[in-house]
Symmetry: C2
């Protein structure tokens, strides 16, 4: 890796911002809404350039981070903000797979993403690199927590001023996980959708780069790397089925775009991939639209422990519904109790401690398997997008207590005996 | 990486357990103390085998985890327990380097190590792989927190029974970070050294594999990968100076061993590397021995917020002193207040949130620079070994508060104005 040098001319393949609805094209500025139809803007690329300049080998010769896919990302700089984000492990599941009755289950683990332990580090790395290119000196975001952590951390690394907005009722770990980087942190009395509306107003008045508002078309492209990496880590193949959490719906649509781009430029062979999505019952507008076969999202008021995915009015929800439908996937929701069970199930079987969003995804995976919606022999990838240390409140009271003992052998032996007796009794109760 | 297949015959290079003091050799069983002189046992290797079978290319063709260095590790299995541990980012520091006046500073970031966000995942991966080979079905450890997290998680992944021991006064994140994996968790009323003594007794009576007691010779070898990775990530070169935290002293000695092994088998060129170590003033028996030029460690009773490195009677302390001396390094200690400043400094300049051990290391780095003990042009690597989300208590009250606002533009503008005024006032006070 270190010996290889990329001698290719630095050509950029991203060409325009394009309206997803009417196709109108715009310059590559900080803008996210179509002036004609108010549809969302997305970055478009010249794939013939990519086909000529990118190979599996040129990617593998790149850095051991998401920036090995730089040519597929909307940045001009050859020196993007690279703090080692991405290239997180794709773990072949044994024990969770057996428990669920699946034969080829993989876990893509962004709970250990660098620097702030969620997939948001990917989108923020792209957004802040682009923000710098566009001349912004202050960056900002509307966040359910993880995005604020990531924006504050990577802005600190890059030396950009930073002001982040969160709902005031977030988990302690997510609040502290932003404050530690010394941003200006605004805790808004309201839910995420209210925070988001406030930020849209601020974006218009302060000339700041809001990663998920005026920089959203660039930002969201970072999620494609969760598609690219899985394809590369499976040995340059696409999986048969993916299960991912749905908040705004953006991540889901970008994994889809990532797979399609790899097919388009000839890096992997095309094949059908089913896309299934996970929501919490207390905030499931996308699952509801899917279930009722609607072509519009009915916004809801969130009420769930899965705060990081509690978006009542999801910007890309309808595109997520479209993708699930046309690929033969599903969108399901689970209760808060099932979410906690999902967190525990993943920890006990795989040794991976995820936050509530990951618990949601694992619980939905289980539900889909039980409903016969996942074929046991499909190569299935479940996306774990954040770390459990940030939402410790969610599992308090559900995971037992330590056995407190004196530093003496007989105190230990007594406690061990009592815990074993208790276990036996619990088993007998289960059997009765 | 994915196309390459390692066709080499599976030869193992680890040959015996050897006493570090008298050189007596032992079979490769679960044993850690010399029967003749009570010295610690260490794994020895046949380096001529390694020289013939390992190349830079064969390593790079291996997995994207610490197991790419499998032949340097004391396991026979070709299928070790690999959950993606290791290959964490080596970040070239810009802003911390500038702040300190260093030109070539790198941060090895095990705060994002898989699965439990500390370097302990490396040693536990080796220990549990070896435990399985030796027929253990229950694994255990004496821990200051991180090791318990890691043992519980990786045991869960591998389907091994697990009982871990911690001091009862640990940080909440470290307790929960073990419980989530459902081990038997013994919280001992006492400090780490008392926990450790209790575990030595238990190891003799229960036939369990204690990763850092009877499996210690295998376990500790896992830390060599922190040397191997840095050498590979620097482009197959050794650094000029490393700064690492000191708890038992084992990590320090194994980074040293790792560098020397790479030189021994011809993977990198030999050169002098200075080794500097970091302790908290409230538990600094190794720093004291270094300062007083003693060849023995005087045990202390720990009293510091840096609980993960609070070992009052460090098993490998004296070897750490030897290495620091013979390489021209230093061992320094810092106060709890300096540790908190170290955590904040790393977060604000690099966007990396480390725990108290990392704060200690950064604070010592700063102290060494200020004392002229680090040459600004040396390639210096600072080892960050754990994540700040596990020791949130340590920074509570030192990192400010969010600005709580209504979801309205004027509420935001008012708060922003007040915070800017406050900042100006603080600056004026600094200037006065």
């Amino acid at each position: 890796m270190t010996q290889a040098i990329d001698t290719q001319k630095a050509t950029t393949a991203f060409k325009a911002l394009k309206c997803k609805e009417c196709g109108a094209e715009y310059e590559l500025k900080a803008s996210h809404v179509c002036e004609f139809c108010f549809g969302p803007l997305e970055v478009s690329y010249d794939y013939s350039t990519l086909r000529q300049t990118v190979t599996r080998e040129s990617i593998q010769a790149g850095p051991n981070s998401m920036w090995r896919y730089r040519k597929f990302l909307p940045v001009a700089s050859e020196n993007p903000i690279d703090v080692g984000t991405g290239m997180t492990p794709l773990v072949r599941s044994q024990r969770l797979a057996r428990r669920l009755g699946l034969n080829k289950l993989y876990i893509k683990n962004d709970a250990v993403n660098m620097p702030t332990l969620s997939f948001k580090d990917r989108v923020v790395s792209v957004a802040l690199t682009r923000a710098r290119e566009l001349g912004f000196t202050t960056v900002s975001c509307a966040s359910t927590g993880n995005l604020a952590n990531s924006t504050a951390a990577i802005a600190a690394h890059a030396g950009l001023d930073c002001c982040v907005f969160i709902p005031a009722d977030l988990e302690a770990g997510k609040v502290l996980g932003s404050l530690i980087y010394s941003p200006t942190l605004m805790a808004v009395k309201g839910n995420y959708d209210q925070v988001n509306r406030l930020c849209s107003e601020v974006a218009n008045t302060h000339g700041w780069g809001f990663v998920n508002i005026n920089l959203r078309p660039y930002y969201s492209e970072g999620s494609k790397t969760l598609g690219f990496e899985v394809a590369e880590q499976l040995g340059w193949q696409l999986p048969d089925h993916i299960v991912a959490p749905l908040a705004s719906g953006s991540l889901f649509t970008k994994i889809y775009k990532g797979f399609n781009e790899f097919v388009e430029v000839g890096l992997v062979e095309g094949k059908p991939v089913r896309f299934s999505g996970a929501q919490a019952e207390g905030c499931s507008p996308i699952a509801q639209a899917f279930k009722e076969d609607r072509d519009f999202i009915q916004p809801v008021k969130p009420n769930t422990i899965a705060k990081s995915i509690a978006i009542g009015n999801p910007a890309d929800g309808i595109y997520a519904v479209e993708i699930a439908k046309k690929t033969g996937g599903s969108i399901e929701s689970v209760t808060d109790a099932e979410i906690i069970e999902g967190i525990k199930l993943l920890a006990e079987t795989e040794g991976i401690f995820t936050e509530t969003a990951g618990g949601t995804t694992v619980a939905v995976l289980k539900k889909l398997v039980e409903a016969g919606k996942i074929n046991p022999d499909e190569t299935t990838v479940v996306y774990i997008t954040g770390n459990g240390l940030k939402t410790q409140e969610a599992v308090h009271g559900y995971i037992g207590e330590p056995l407190t003992i004196e530093a003496k052998l007989d105190s230990f032996e007594g406690a061990l005996e009592r815990s074993r007796t208790l276990e036996r009794l619990e088993w007998q109760q289960v059997l009765v």
